[in-house]
C-alpha cells in the first residue's frame, strides 16, 4: 500500500523458500519418533489420508446436492473414493503424529507472530507472552474455567479458551497500565520486571487452584511448561481459525507496527490512530496467546526467540518480519517438539523445557546487546 521500494514486502521467492523449509521440517517431524517411518512411506500415507478425507467431503457434498444425502449414505462409496489408509504406520502417522505436528507448527507460528507484534508495538525486543506474563495470565484463566466448571453448552473447549483469552487480555492491560504508571516512557526493563513479578504472582494463584481441584485439572507442569501430546485435528482446526483471523488482522497492521517500533510519539505524529491500533493489536495478541495456552499450556520464549532470529534474516520491517516469523515460529517449535520427544527417548520432556532452555540464552544475548548500545 505505501511503497513498493526494494525490500518493503515479503517477496514471492522468499515466501516459497520459507514455506519449503517449513514443509521439510514438518515432514521430518512426522517421520521421526519412537518408531521411525521412512519419508516416502510417510508422504504416501499422508497423501492417501488426504485423498480419503477429500473424497469423503466430496461425497458428502454430492449427497447434499442430490436428494437429502440418504442415497450417499446407503448406496456405499463411489468407485473414485480413495480407500482409508490402514495399518500400524498409517495410524501412527494419521492419528498421532500428524495432528500433533500440525498443532505444534501452528502454535509456534501464532506465538511467534504475537511476540513479533508485541515487540513492535512496545518497541521492546524482550517482549513476549512469557516475559510479560501474558501466558501465565492465560493459563490462570484456563485453570479457573476448568476448576469452576465454566463452559458453554455444545462447545467443549470454548469455556477454557474464552477465559484464557480474557485473562490474557486483562493481564496485558494490567501490566501495561502499571508500567505506564511507574515509567511513562515504558522503558524496556520496567515492563519486563513487572511481567516477571506478575508471572510469579499468577503462578502462585494457579498453584492454589490446582491444589484444590487436583482431580479435574491436568498436572501443573502442563500449564507452566506446556505440551501438545495428544493434540488432535479439532485442536488444529481451532488454531488454524485463530491464526487466520488474528494473524490476518495483525499482518494488515504491519505498517502501523513499523511506526510503533520507531516510536509511539512518532507514530502519532505521522497520523497513526495510536489508541485504536494499540487496542486492536492487544486484543488479537491476547486471542492468539489465549488459544495457544488453552490447547498446549504456556510454552515460553517462542515469541521472543523467533522474531529475534528472523529479524537478523529479513530486517526489522514488519511487512517482512511478521510473515517470516509465522514460518520461523512453526519451524522453531516443531524442532523443539522433536527434541523434546526424541532426545531422552522413551522419556518425553515437556516442550516448554526445550524452548525455555534456548529462550533464556537468547534473552540474555538480546539484553546484553541492547544494554551495550543504550
Amino acid at each position: 500500500m505505501i511503497l513498493c521500494m526494494g525490500k518493503n514486502r515479503f517477496s514471492f521467492i522468499e515466501f516459497v523458500i520459507f514455506a519449503a523449509v517449513t514443509f521439510a521440517v514438518l515432514c521430518l517431524c512426522v517421520c521421526i519418533g519412537s518408531v521411525s517411518i521412512p519419508p516416502a512411506d510417510t508422504l504416501s500415507v499422508i497423501w492417501d489420508g488426504a485423498r480419503y478425507q477429500a473424497g469423503r467431503i466430496a461425497a458428502a457434498l454430492a449427497g447434499l446436492a442430490s436428494d437429502g444425502g440418504a442415497a450417499a449414505g446407503s448406496g456405499g462409496a463411489p468407485s473414485w473414493l480413495a480407500a482409508r489408509p490402514e495399518g500400524l504406520q498409517a495410524s501412527i502417522i494419521l492419528s498421532v503424529r500428524l495432528p500433533r505436528v500440525l498443532c505444534v507448527a501452528m502454535t509456534g507460528a501464532a506465538l511467534a507472530l504475537a511476540g513479533g507484534a508485541m515487540q513492535g508495538l512496545l518497541k521492546n525486543p524482550l517482549a513476549d507472552g512469557s516475559t510479560l506474563g501474558v501466558s501465565s495470565g492465560a493459563a490462570l484463566g484456563a485453570v479457573t474455567a476448568i476448576a469452576f466448571g465454566i463452559r458453554f453448552p455444545g462447545l467443549p473447549f470454548a469455556g477454557t479458551m474464552v477465559m484464557a483469552i480474557l485473562f490474557a487480555f486483562l493481564s496485558l492491560v494490567l501490566i501495561l497500565s502499571l508500567a505506564y504508571r511507574l515509567d511513562c516512557s515504558l522503558a524496556t526493563n520496567t515492563i519486563i520486571l513487572i511481567g516477571v513479578i506478575f508471572s510469579m504472582f499468577v503462578s502462585s494463584l494457579m498453584n492454589i487452584i490446582v491444589t484444590f481441584a487436583a482431580d479435574r485439572i491436568r498436572h501443573i507442569t502442563f500449564w507452566t511448561m506446556g505440551s501438545l501430546q495428544g493434540a488432535g485435528y479439532q485442536n488444529a482446526l481451532v488454531l488454524f481459525g485463530a491464526l487466520v483471523i488474528c494473524g490476518g488482522i495483525i499482518l494488515r497492521r504491519a505498517q502501523e507496527l513499523n511506526a510503533f517500533a520507531i516510536g509511539e510519539d512518532n507514530a502519532r505524529h505521522i497520523g497513526v490512530d495510536v489508541r485504536r491500533v494499540k487496542l486492536v493489536i492487544l486484543i488479537t495478541v491476547s486471542g492468539l496467546i489465549g488459544v495457544c495456552v488453552s490447547i498446549g499450556g504456556s510454552i515460553g520464549f517462542v515469541g521472543l526467540v523467533t522474531p529475534h532470529i528472523v529479524r537478523m534474516l529479513v530486517g526489522p520491517n514488519h511487512r517482512r518480519l511478521l510473515p517470516a516469523s509465522l514460518f520461523g515460529g512453526a519451524v522453531f517449535l516443531m524442532l523443539a517438539d522433536l527434541a523434546a520427544r526424541t532426545l531422552l527417548n522413551p522419556i518425553e520432556l515437556p516442550i516448554g523445557v526445550v524452548t525455555s532452555l534456548v529462550g533464556a540464552v537468547v534473552f540474555v544475548v538480546i539484553f546484553y546487546r541492547s544494554r551495550r548500545r543504550g
Binding site: 505505501i2 511503497l3 518497541k123 521492546n124 520507531i262 516510536g263 505521522i270 497520523g271 529479524r311 526489522p316
Partner: protein, 255 residues
C-alpha cells in the same frame, strides 16, 4: 492558519499551560521561548493532541480535536528533539513512514509517495545514506532522517520541539536553513520551541515569550525580545549576558 484559544493544561494540581492564546498565519515562523518549565513543549503537545487540555485549538477554523489522526497528520507535522532507535530500520524506511497519512487517503498513488520520499531525502542530503541502518547514524544524521520523514509527510504546519538541542553548530545551521527553505513554499508555517534566544531572533518572524505557562508577550522580535520582558522572566540581565558572550569573540579579535 492555527488559532489557539484559552489553552489550559493541568497535570493533577499543577497548571502547566495557563489560559494561553496565540495565532500563526501562513508564511510565519513562530518561535516559542521562555525558561525551563514555562510550558513550551506542552503547548506543542496540546496542538498535536498528545495531551489532554481545555480551550480550543483550531486549524484553518476546524477543531483539531474533531479531526481523525491521519487528517491531523496531513495538517501538522512534528520534529522532536530526541529519537531513540531500537531496531535497525533504514533511513529510507523511516522517511517513507512520513507518507502514512497520505496513503491512507490516496490509496494506490504510490508514484507520488515515492517521489515525495525521494525529494525529502534529497532535500535533507540523506540520499547517499538511504540504505543505512538508523542505529549507525550520528545525532545530526538521525535528526535529518526524521526531518526527511516530516518533509515527506508534507504538512502545512511544522512543529519543532528544540530540533537542534543536541546537535553541533554545523547541524544547527543546516537544520534551520533547511526549514527556512521549506517555509518559502506558500501555504506553510512553522512553530518551534527554542532555548537559544539568538536563534529565535535570527529565524523567527514572530516570538511568543512564555513564563509559568502564561503568555508574557507575543509579536515581532523587536517588540518581544526587549529587556522589559526578558529580564523579569529570566531573572537576569539578558542583554548584558548576550553582549558579554559576543564580547568574548569581538574583543579578542579572534573572529
Amino acid at each position: 492558519m492555527l488559532q489557539v484559544n484559552d489553552l489550559t493544561v493541568r497535570y493533577g494540581g499543577l497548571t502547566i499551560v495557563d489560559h494561553l492564546s496565540f495565532t500563526v498565519e501562513e508564511g510565519q515562523w513562530l518561535m516559542i521561548v521562555g525558561p525551563n518549565g514555562a510550558g513550551k513543549s506542552t503547548t506543542l503537545d496540546a496542538v498535536t493532541q498528545g495531551t489532554a487540555y481545555t480551550g480550543r485549538v483550531l486549524f484553518e477554523g476546524e477543531d483539531m480535536k474533531k479531526k481523525k489522526a491521519a487528517e491531523r497528520a496531513r495538517c501538522v507535522g512534528v520534529l522532536m528533539q530526541n529519537h531513540f532507535a531500537e531496531y535497525a530500520f533504514s533511513v529510507e524506511e523511516v522517511a517513507a513512514l512520513g507518507r502514512y497519512a497520505c496513503s491512507a487517503f490516496l490509496a494506490g498513488r504510490s508514484d507520488e509517495d515515492e517521489q515525495a520520499v525521494e525529494n525529502a531525502l534529497a532535500l535533507t542530503g540523506m540520499i547517499s545514506q538511504r540504505k543505512q541502518s538508523i542505529l549507525t547514524l550520528s545525532g545530526g544524521e538521525l535528526q535529518r532522517t526524521f526531518l526527511a520523514q516530516v518533509f515527506a509527510q508534507d504538512p502545512k504546519l511544522l512543529l519543532l520541539d528544540e530540533p537542534t538541542n543536541h546537535l553541533d553548530l554545523v547541524y544547527q545551521k543546516q537544520v534551520f536553513e533547511l526549514i527556512g527553505k521549506w517555509l518559502q513554499t506558500p501555504g506553510r508555517a512553522v512553530i518551534s520551541v527554542v532555548h537559544d534566544l539568538s536563534l529565535a531572533k535570527a529565524y523567527g518572524t514572530k516570538i511568543l515569550l512564555m513564563n509559568h505557562g502564561r503568555k508574557v508577550a507575543c509579536g515581532p522580535a523587536a517588540v518581544v525580545l526587549v529587556p522589559e520582558h526578558l529580564d523579569p522572566v529570566y531573572q537576569m540581565d539578558v542583554g548584558g549576558w548576550m553582549r558579554r558572550m559576543l564580547g568574548q569573540w569581538t574583543e579578542s579579535g579572534s573572529i
